[in-house]
């Protein structure tokens, strides 16, 4: 039995404990050890963006982090956006604009878009495309993804309800 290391961290506001081998990636830890399968595993080498999560508020590839590295950190996954009740405006916009086909890239797309809108609340189409360039949609549904992010930016603008917690 290989050595395991105990791992305490906060995921979507909830304190979690687990233990894993040092080589366990964060994405495998989230999916296998914590049962949070919303984060998808795509390329496993940092190219596709499917496994994007927030680490202390900033997007990271969870396939390029080992779970032992995020002890004590705060992680937000797609499950953290709308724990109960209404969808997050980004999720709502993706649904309304048919911005997902197979849905595999969607969790990563939404978290990348969330960071983009936090830093640039009214991005141009080009800024959206650059901001999401690290997230690949193999269905190539980019046109509707860009539309959805634009719509979400409008829905999240001040005076329109803002960003829900």
């Amino acid at each position: 039995m290989p050595d395991t290391i105990s791992i305490d961290l906060t995921v979507n506001g909830v304190a979690c404990t687990g233990s894993a081998e040092a080589r366990r990636s964060l994405v495998d830890f989230l999916r296998i050890d914590l049962g949070l399968t919303g984060t998808h595993v795509g390329c496993e080498h940092g190219v596709c963006g499917a496994c994007t999560v927030l680490l202390n508020g900033r997007t990271v590839r969870s396939c390029l982090l080992f779970a032992v590295q995020v002890r004590g950190a705060e992680i937000v996954t797609i499950e953290g956006l709308s724990k109960s009740g209404p969808l997050h405006p980004l999720q709502q916009a993706f649904q309304e604009h048919h911005a997902l086909q197979c849905g595999f890239c969607t969790p990563g797309m939404i978290l990348a878009a969330l960071e983009l809108l936090k830093e640039n609340p009214a991005p141009s189409e080009e800024e959206i495309r650059v901001g999401l360039a690290g997230n690949l949609c193999m269905c190539t549904g980019y046109v509707n993804i860009v539309r959805a992010v634009k719509a979400a930016a409008e829905a999240m603008a001040p005076g329109r309800g803002g960003i829900p917690e």
């Binding site: 495998d28 963006g49 997007t59 590839r61 080992f66 032992v68 590295q69 360039a133």
Partner: protein, 305 residues
Amino acid sequence: MKPAPFTYFAPQSVSEALALLREHGEGAKVLAGGQSLVPLMNFRLVRPQVLIDINGLSELASLAVSDGGVTAGALVRQWELERSSEVARRLPILSEAIRFVGHPAIRNRGTVGGSLVHADPAAELPVVAVALAAEFQLQSAQGSRSLQAHEFYTGYLSTAIASDELLVKIHLPFSPPNTGWCFTEIARRQGDFALVAVALLLGFNGNGSVSFARIALGGIGGVPVRAGTAEESLLGKRPSETLFREAAQVAAQGLEPENDIHASAAYRRHIAEVLVRRALETARTRSGSLSGFGFEASMRKDRDA
């Protein structure tokens, strides 16, 4: 697509990290942002027995802009450079280059030192380091030493860093006054490694002639290269369309690009020439020296051709 097992250490001080490096030497790898190392580990192209995670070394995470230049601890994240208004004002070529590195999620985690030490010949930061003649400060349990960028890079994915050494910081000096800058590249897709990248500085003296020229190219051979002959061909001359065109040709002729799956050698040489020419014009405009000489119109013409 899972890494081979390794023993994990997370030292909390530089001296602790150096002691681990001395103890484990060749079998150990230093983990900083992990944006290059972890993919290699996932593919099992790299199988370190020991992984020394330096993310806890806050003493390596400071970014300072002083009179002489920008000094970045090895652990400064790329996004911190990107967002620094002080860096943008004092060393704008660095801000320009950093936006070409990967994507936001990569730059959030990727470090300045990690990219420099990984030494991918098509990565942006090593090219900027060579153009600026940056100074690399290395430390080991035995002591410290500093190397110039051109001494640091020794070959494809290879540097002069010894197995018991750690890059602790890098100093990127400011350029002389009236120096224009340009970082540009061509890649297959946004965020990809460059087919060719150019980092260029062009300075002028009071009478409008070129007094300072640095042309560094990446994506060409195993290490970032300086186009020394082209630099010399510019010195003391007044800028003109012909001067820049010829300097770009000289720069491209001096290169020995390689064929690979991304681009042929001939294509790399061609885009190197075009990028150097465009970068010279951009740098001239930004130097605040002289007015244009209709170069933009001629460049548009050749882009359309």
